[in-house]
Each structure stands twice: as C-alpha cells, then as structure tokens.
Symmetry: none
Subunit: 157 residues, 2 copies
C-alpha cells in the first residue's frame, strides 16, 4: 500500500461511501495528493473500470469535472453483461477475470470464498499451459462457471 495509486483509490472509495456518484476535480485532487493530474486518470482507468462496476463521466473545459458512478445490478443483468463482455473476446487475462469476480463478489452474486476459489482456478499457476492457449482456456472455464452459477441460481432460491 505504499504507492499513491492505492491511496487515491482508497480515498475515493471512502469519500464515495454508499453514494452512487462522486464528482471531483482532477486538478484539485492531483494537487491534494501532490501528484501529476494524469495520475488520477491512471487510478480511474485501472481501478474504476466497468469490470469492477464503475463508469467514469467527465466534462472538459472551464468548470469541468469528473464523476465516478457506481453501477449496481441485479444478478441477471450482471450475468448478461459479463457473459457479453466475455463472449466478445476469445481469451481473457487473469487480471481481467479477477476484476469480474471482484465485482460479482461486491454485488453479492457469489461469496468471497467462492470468488477466491474461482480466482485460484484461473490463476497462471493452476493453468499449466502454453501462454497462447492459456487465455482461451481461462475464458472457457470462466464461461462454464458462470453458466453453472446461473443454473444453480435457477434451481435453488
């Protein structure tokens, strides 16, 4: 936690609290943390991604600002979106898969324990395979898991 990015992330999450939106000034924030303004963009694009359940809106020019919006969805919406996201590519990195799982966890679609198990399964360590194949394999496993979760949700509850 010694890097500024993590600190800014924590600050934003904390400031946001339970609110759905948070509006801020890039320059103000940057000068508050004594960092380059583009550092703020870095934090936003690496931590507040759609995969993690956030979108960013902004306006340039005089009086411009940035707004962080937290998306919350029903499980069905989440599945649709995630499966969609997942279907577009024919492979997925561990980092990205991990973000998706974090988000599902945040939205209470799966438990933290479950997300940890699935992350383990999708990790580079678990998937001994050539790099080219690895991302495709990972995606395939992830899809299978999502479908299985859907099936189970349908049966139980």
């Amino acid at each position: 936690m010694a890097n500024i990015s993590d600190i800014i992330e924590a600050f934003l999450l904390d400031t946001m609290g339970n609110n759905e939106k948070l509006t801020l000034s890039r320059n103000e924030l940057a000068s508050y943390f004594s960092c380059a303004p583009s550092q703020i963009n870095y934090v936003l694009t690496t931590r507040f991604t759609p995969e993690r359940g956030y979108i960013i809106e902004s306006r340039r020019g005089g009086g411009g600002s940035i707004t962080v919006v937290r998306l919350s969805q029903t499980p069905e919406e989440a599945y649709g979106e995630i499966l969609g996201t997942v279907n577009e590519n024919d492979g997925i990195s561990f980092a990205k898969a991990s973000q998706l799982l974090d988000r599902m966890c945040r939205d209470a679609i799966i438990s933290e324990r479950e997300s940890e198990i699935v992350k383990t399964v999708l990790s580079d360590k678990a998937l001994i395979a050539p790099t080219v194949i690895k991302d495709r394999l990972r995606l395939n496993i992830l899809k299978s898991v999502l479908l299985q979760l859907l099936r189970m949700n349908g049966e139980e509850d």
Copy 2:
C-alpha cells in the same frame, strides 16, 4: 549452516514470530543481507513451500512487495489421504476428482455449491485441451484449489 539461505530463512522465521503473515520488500531484504535479490526467491521457493506450510503472495511494480503466509495446517495434514490417492499418477480423471469432491463435501470441507463449482471447472467441457494434457491439468487445478482452501481456512471466513 553458515550459508546465506539458511540465515535468511532463520531471519524470516524469527521476524515472523507467531504472526500469520509477514510482508517484506525483496530488494530491501536483499540489500540488508548483501545478496542478489533473486536469492530471496530461492529461499522462498525452497524453504517456504506449501509442503512446509507456507504460501507466498506478491505484487510487482512500484510499491510492490512479497508476503509470506503461514498455513495453519500443511496440505499433507489436511488432505494427506486425498493427495495420496491422487499423487500416484500425475493426472486425474473427472470421475475420480468428482468422487473426491463429494467426499470433501460430505466431510464439510467445502459446501455443496462450492463442490459444484469446482466440478464444473474440472469437467471435460471446461477444460479444452488435448486429452493427454487434460488429466494433468485437472490435477494441477485441483491441487491449487486444495491449497487455496487451506489458506482460507486459516483466515477468518
């Protein structure tokens, strides 16, 4: 004794004390002991293995670090029987893996839901790979999951 690896090992054990985790900086430690940074990796991979009851986590890049996690049980203690059944071969069929998971479920090591998820992951459908490789891959994933379960059991749930 008298070799750096043993000294570093002792230092880490001592520093760790009774704590469950120890976070350190590879470069700092290396320069403290005036050794190559990769020496630290050597110590970690030879002495702080899962078999001996440790797991290593790490993060690269600015602000990166390494964390040593002590398991409350070694895999042998926890899954000795299971791993024994499994270790003879260097691969495992879906049927056999499935049986093991059922047993773990029965023994309340994992929930039914969790066992279903892991079964899905280990199914032939999820694991698109040449048959020869498939069983080995499956075993590797299964082992990773077992390790992860151990780690999670050590922490609060």
